[in-house]
Symmetry: C2
Subunit: 326 residues, 2 copies
Amino acid sequence: MTSEFGLIERYFVGRQPSRPDVVLAAGDDCALVEVPAGYQVAISTDSVVAGTHFLANADPAAIAHKALASNLSDLAAMGATPAWVSLALTLPNVDEAWLSRFCDAFFALADQHQLQLIGGDTTKGPLAITLTVQGLVPVGQALRRSGASVGDGIYVTGSLGEAKAGLDVILHPDQHRETEAQTLVDAHYFSEPRVAIGQALRGLASAAIDISDGLIADLGHILERSQCGAKINISQLPISASLAQFLRERSRALQYALTSGEEYELCFTAAADHDTAVMAIAQSLSVPITRIGEITQTGQIELHDDGAALDWQLTGFDHFKDENNE
Amino acid sequence: MTSEFGLIERYFVGRQPSRPDVVLAAGDDCALVEVPAGYQVAISTDSVVAGTHFLANADPAAIAHKALASNLSDLAAMGATPAWVSLALTLPNVDEAWLSRFCDAFFALADQHQLQLIGGDTTKGPLAITLTVQGLVPVGQALRRSGASVGDGIYVTGSLGEAKAGLDVILHPDQHRETEAQTLVDAHYFSEPRVAIGQALRGLASAAIDISDGLIADLGHILERSQCGAKINISQLPISASLAQFLRERSRALQYALTSGEEYELCFTAAADHDTAVMAIAQSLSVPITRIGEITQTGQIELHDDGAALDWQLTGFDHFKDENNE
């Protein structure tokens, strides 16, 4: 009838097979879903805003992927299996080419994880996307930030630092000439949330978080909730050949690995006797998992370089940092 | 640690008693909730954006109430009992007075409905709020748009038209001199979602929707989903004394009642033999419910004035209407 609804219907409805637990998706005041017995629902909401999280002229496929990946990454960090997503899309105007590219990328990633779009809202205003994702996890098996114990190993998936280097390239187009530029930009926009690893870690990881604010900041959240400290060997940090080549200096690459936000890798802890099982997951899912340190009693993060102490002062990423330091 | 998290914690965490079905609220990658056996989950997402849904300098209490009321109204229209809400708040800067007023109004309305804030996201950018609310409804008892049958009565709760008149006052400050001005502005910002009525209508209403785009537009959604038409007697439309006084002409007041969006009253249908039970709900909950017409076969909405046909051409509210008419 009216174009707002026409807009939603044309681009978003009927693009996916319906999950059996979705009783009603778009087309009513609410969606209706069913939760199987023995499961809890994990819920996460994230917004990405033009000018804060991405440039307004960024590729809509990149925006869609990054917005959904960041939310799926939160489910991964809880060990939850993706189920449903609600999309609130605020657009300055109706641009069909933009919408079409946005939707193709959104549904490609959603379909890969059997995540069904169940509803949302389309409004006029400055470009922004808010997603609420929901996933299912067997009762009592969710991975939390609060379970780390002294002596547990600290692990990260994939490699670290590329998202920040990719942002450097995006913000300084002269760096596009570097050989690794496109690889790093793709790492910034098109990271793969570690959904399968998160689920495989149920019963093994003692604590988990996804790296959205930077390793130091996010590990800090685990330490805060678990009331413990950490010792990190920076020489173990997983750094890709592209990042090492792009940044040239080893210490810069390591600092990127420690502070790069929006990586959407997992950082988790596990007791020493689960180390073999953790490494078997890396093998079976073909994703690197690296032990980078150990949980301590101190309440702080101590960095060392194969035993040599370091005093780097590093913090994570914070949108409001400049104007309201605490 | 960083101010973004400080911000969230200080204003939002620990403000409400924890519901027994909330396993984990803020403080991890996801919230965790449990759904009781025999219930389905109703989910709705709505965004309100400065400049589109409210003026950027509007009272933050009004913005908070309106954003949450519009979402609760969607749960009401499904007959769902409110349970959990996620809040994505995008702010141009950290204004403590603004946040404090926003939160007070948000939690006042949430507490009234035992709705627990379970998580969200705070980001920097143009002022906007996206809420995802979730409610519980016994399996098979959700009120849908699709169940209206020929001969069913058409009902609305409360009175209609004040939200649009309130917006007139907000946009034209010279109208503030009118005696009814503040009543109408309050109706625009502080409407009460019909949550209790929605739940009471389970098993009675054949179809329901909340009036967010205007009666004509929203009744149109019921007719489309139910594949039927409607005959409305405009002389039955519930109009408040304040609205009648403010608009002076009867026909203008009626047109406001037919098209005013963001009313957050319910429009529903019920078989004739449920009419007494419907009126008993109005009595017991002390909210007016008015029968305004009847479902027909035509596929159209016919307006009449106590039998005299009308040919008013009226449409609902649509943010994108100006640039993309269909």
